[in-house]
Symmetry: C2
Subunit: 263 residues, 2 copies
Amino acid sequence: MSQDPPAPTSGLQRLWRLDAPPRGGRPTLSVRRVVAAAVELADAEGIGAVSMGRVAEQLGFTTMALYRHVAGKDELLELMSDAAVGEPPPTDGAAPWRARAHSWSLAMLRRVREHPWITEVPFSTPPLGPHRVRWMEAGLRALRGCALDAEQKLAVINTLNGIVWHEVSLEWQQARARDRAGRDPAGAFADYGRALASVAAPERFPELAALVADGVFGEPDAAPGPAGPAPVQDFDDPLVAFAVDRFLDGVELLLERQGGGAG
Amino acid sequence: MSQDPPAPTSGLQRLWRLDAPPRGGRPTLSVRRVVAAAVELADAEGIGAVSMGRVAEQLGFTTMALYRHVAGKDELLELMSDAAVGEPPPTDGAAPWRARAHSWSLAMLRRVREHPWITEVPFSTPPLGPHRVRWMEAGLRALRGCALDAEQKLAVINTLNGIVWHEVSLEWQQARARDRAGRDPAGAFADYGRALASVAAPERFPELAALVADGVFGEPDAAPGPAGPAPVQDFDDPLVAFAVDRFLDGVELLLERQGGGAG
DNA sequence: TAAACCATGTGTATCTTATACACGTCCGAG
DNA sequence: CTCGGACGTGTATAAGATACACATGGTTTA
């Protein structure tokens, strides 16, 4: 009755106490290992493949063993996505805020791309995990010296986050559509461009049709082969970079208008 | 063999053919009705509540009846989210692109807010439904007369989308956290602010702690009552508006730099 | 050192859901 | 009038989450 008052936040606590020393005895399983296995599984086969059973199997334990370490699947998902974003990179104290914000965004982009399934996890909670919180802190630190008020800073990092997540989410969906087409040549279009083309009648969707014709979604004359391996484009960021840069330009502009210079 | 070649895209087709005339005879159930019922359910109780069974019950049919009209739950979800975004508002031909883009974003924001569960639907496909596509078209139309190239226009509307969705997603998560706290006063924090406060130790998270202290996440001295009904803030958009405006400012700036004026 | 404890795993049972299949029915076409 | 197909129904199956009660071995306590 002394060491652990049930505390109103078991969930949150678990989120932050991954390292609680193994309490009773043999430290075979652990939250860390469970989460790690789950993340690995998701990386390999998507969140769809993450079931309590599969994770347990991966670890060589029974399904129910997991419940000794996580409250349930929801909590596991929360832990997974927090773990997957991992640690933010250090903030370059010398760089101006603009450059720091930019690289913070790109770092996040890369991280999320490594675990694209994060974008599919149905979050039930706003970001409260230790890693997420550390990214927030890092983002705010990046904006130090920028003359925005607290609310605006928060809006800035939220927006950057939104841009990045949305982008990865789209990439991911397209990639999936692509390889669904690979597996089942009859069931889906080889790529988003072709699908859009089939659907965007030029009379009703002139603008869209023009984009498609422009090849913005991929060359329309790319081999329509039954199930080409689809050369995984690795546009390393032009699209996101565009968005991030425009947004940050806008923020800079605001600062200039407001105060004349950077605080 | 004349009216409906099986076509490689039954899914896509169903997405676009909601109005196919009732083929055989009595038009009791229909894709429309199924989707409508599902949307209603999701609006009322969240996507979590949407199961084939519940939807069927809602309509007074058996679960299996639904399968005559949709291929399965995934397709239903796709149809639902397309239906939920609905029709984009008309484009104001007279307004400048900037204003049009702005109101397009706000229209989308409002729409998504009406059906916040959309942000939780695990998309397996890039946007191909008729409504989604119409929103894209509308977005592009809004950008007509703006001297961006095709790719950039696409990036702009994607970004605006990302900003909006991410925002709604956050609002939604916070709202849920809030009323989870209401239901189970011990299980979660009354609000995000308090939760963050409990977690963001000032020594390790100075920036964040400052924000929290600033009351950016809600006043820290708000009654910590066991389950206050939590005055649902209705910031109609200041945060999103900030993001959208900054971004569009950035785009304008780019155009000025590029060409001197708007095409 | 012996006894009690408790954290950890296990096995089994249950409940919810999605979905395959086969059957009956009623409509309109020939 | 009869046949075929669209539409609903009912039943069966399988996956998955999770509650519960029990076994076990190290830790702690008397």
